[in-house]
């Protein structure tokens, strides 16, 4: 595009008026706007977390200052010791770890079996069961919550961790099954066919060929399962009662309700609960993204 600016000499003398110059300015401005917006978003997103950690290190009563103090004058790590002193956080942590690990293993085993059946095996009623499974994604927890509570009451499992763990050994949730099935479908069938010709049965093919190839999908399931069980509040609230059975989410609530006027301790306890999730997030970032991108298909 030529913007009749006259002779070439004029362009050289006043390059800032040329079309190319304007074009470049617009590109720079656009980039500046985008980076500005991105940075603003990151600040809005992360400042609360900074505030969380900052408050957790304030002296008792020191969190109540106005205007807010962005750079602390002293750091009180003893708040964390106090948290462990006042509440059985080690027990809560142990319970949360137990629930998270055992439920995740159950999800991986039982879920991948179902996913393999849906992806590769041929049997009567498969597509019907697959549709049924997907429809359970839409089922509100409130509908099954009460009879499940009554079921576990009959089994004598109330106020124990079993209701938080055992259901996940029976499928582990439609979302996870769907995620693994989608991945299994992308695997080339040649190796499985070759193994079948060599006389391997379906279970051996599943265990020795499909599962070792499915690392990324299994990692996504581990990540989502970890987050779900570590963060879950409603199920522990319903099923557990005594301090010895509380998970971290529930223990944090009791602790915070006790310390309602002392935010530094509540924030310290919250930080403790957040740290493992952050570590997992940074280690397995891409499995979050990939898993969610797959899950976007589930609702279609």
């Amino acid at each position: 595009m030529k913007v009749g600016l006259g002779t070439r000499e004029v362009e050289v003398r006043r390059p800032f008026l040329s079309a190319a110059w304007w074009d470049r300015q617009r590109k720079v401005l656009r980039l500046a706007l985008i980076y500005g917006a991105l940075t603003l978003g990151a600040i809005v997103s992360l400042v609360p977390l900074y505030w969380l950690v900052l408050t957790s290190l304030r002296p008792t009563g020191g969190e109540f200052t106005y205007p807010p103090q962005w750079i602390p004058s002293s750091l009180h790590f003893e708040n964390y010791a106090y948290v462990f002193d006042r509440a059985p956080f080690l027990t809560y942590t142990r319970n949360s770890v137990f629930v998270t690990v055992v439920a995740t293993i159950g999800t991986l085993i039982s879920g991948s079996l179902a996913a393999y059946a849906f992806a590769r095996l041929r049997f009567i009623g498969r597509d019907v069961w697959f549709a049924v499974m997907l429809s359970t994604l839409m089922l509100p927890y409130a509908v099954t919550m009460i009879p499940e509570f009554l079921l576990f009451r009959i089994l004598g499992w109330l106020d124990s961790l079993w209701p938080l763990v055992v259901p996940y050994w029976f499928g582990g949730g439609a979302f996870n099954i769907f995620l693994m099935r989608q991945f299994f479908l992308t695997l080339p069938t040649e190796m499985e066919d070759a193994a079948r010709v060599d006389g391997a049965g379906p279970f051996r093919i599943y265990l020795q060929i499909v599962m070792p190839l499915s690392g990324p999908a299994l990692a996504s399931v581990v990540v989502f399962s970890f987050i779900h069980h570590w963060n879950d509040f409603l199920a522990p609230l319903i099923y557990t009662n005594s301090p010895g059975q509380r998970t971290l989410a529930l223990g944090l609530r009791y602790f915070a309700d006790e310390q309602i006027t002392q935010f530094n301790y509540t924030m310290a306890a919250s930080t403790l609960m957040l740290v493992p999730v952050l570590i997992l997030f940074f280690v397995a970032n891409r499995y979050f993204v990939r898993g969610i991108a797959t899950s976007g298909l589930a609702g279609r």
């Binding site: 400042v47 505030w51 039982s110 041929r122 089922l139 509908v143 009879p147 009554l150 029976f170 319903i238």
Partner: protein, 315 residues
């Protein structure tokens, strides 16, 4: 379905096919047991309980429709529905707008896109209980960060969690910090839009807004609609934030549906009544599913559109 498995020889066909069915169900067995024990069975039980009076100690007593009749007379039931609808229909569009805006920003292929994406996603994975206490503190009237900001721009501080006019808005604001999942779904959709479309539109002289309106929105409309419906469904089940931050108050302004259901089921132990409430929730959610199914034919653009929805999709 693209399931390639070599057809077995015709002689042994019958036996092998029978075995194949058995193998399939063997793999499916754990899930099937779970489905009947933890989904289908409880659903059937819940459907029966809805017509009973059951306080866990005495055996259930059949009361016909009286749970539903009691609900029809119950002012707090209607209030909880109103609160939930308010939260949903104001909150979900706001959540989608934030998620889409972030996804569009991330899709500009800038440097450090991964770092920015992580920054936006982290609040979503943070344990919800910890986030809630953080925001209770942020919403603190005298010393919270939000009111410090409000004062900074010269406005009067707000009773975020104590003014019944404001509490639902506060909870919506909190929900906006946890839209990372929707954001990533949008981002995946945006990355799937072919560049050629934008290039040819740019050649035709379409400006940024026109390109967004006529290319981006139609191309990601299935995901927009998916996030809308999933958002509505999960918003209707909002519980934890109200249970912890406001306990349903003040003056029932955050008494959401599932919170009210929880009060009946697990504090008053009126299991029948709570089951009746659960089925009304189920009906509402099914209604949204049906609307989704009906409406997606009209304005959602699927590339392989079967219903001839084609290019008029951008309405």
């Amino acid at each position: 379905m693209a399931v390639a498995s070599p057809l077995p020889g015709s002689v042994r066909r019958r036996r092998i096919r029978w075995r194949e069915h058995a193998v399939g169900y063997a793999f499916l067995a754990p899930w099937l047991v779970g489905f009947f024990a933890f989904v289908a069975g409880p659903m059937a039980a819940s459907a029966l309980l809805a017509f009973t009076d059951y306080n866990v100690i005495l055996p259930p007593r059949w009361v016909g429709l009286s749970n539903f009749q009691a609900l029809a007379q119950d002012q707090r039931f209607y209030l909880s529905l109103y609160n939930t609808a308010y939260y949903t229909f104001l909150g979900v569009p706001a959540q989608l707008a934030v998620a889409l805006a972030l996804a569009l920003l991330l899709n500009t292929r800038v440097r450090f896109a991964d770092a920015f994406r992580s920054a936006y996603y982290i609040p979503t994975v943070a344990p919800v209980v910890a986030s809630i206490y953080l925001w209770v503190w942020m919403f603190n009237y005298d010393y919270g960060l939000i009111n410090a900001l409000v004062r900074l721009i010269g406005l009067a501080p707000v009773q975020w969690l104590w003014d019944p006019q404001v509490t639902k808005i506060s909870i919506i604001i909190f929900s906006l910090t946890r839209v990372g999942t929707q954001m990533i779904i949008f981002l995946a959709g945006l990355q799937g839009v072919p560049d050629e479309l934008y290039e040819s539109a740019a050649i035709d002289g379409a400006n940024g807004w026109q390109r967004f309106r006529s290319i981006t929105v139609p191309m990601i409309s299935p995901l927009l609609f998916l996030n809308l419906v999933l958002g509505i469904i999960s918003s209707f089940q909002v519980f934890t934030v109200a249970y912890i931050a406001t306990k349903g108050g003040p003056v029932d302004s955050t008494l959401f549906y599932v919170l009210y259901l929880y009060h009946h089921g697990f504090q008053n132990f009126r299991m029948g009544f709570a089951s009746a409430m659960a089925w009304i929730l189920f009906a509402i959610i099914m209604l949204f599913k049906i609307v989704q199914f009906r409406m997606s034919r009209y304005w959602v653009y699927y590339e392989s559109g079967t219903s001839g929805a084609g290019p008029r999709a951008s309405r």
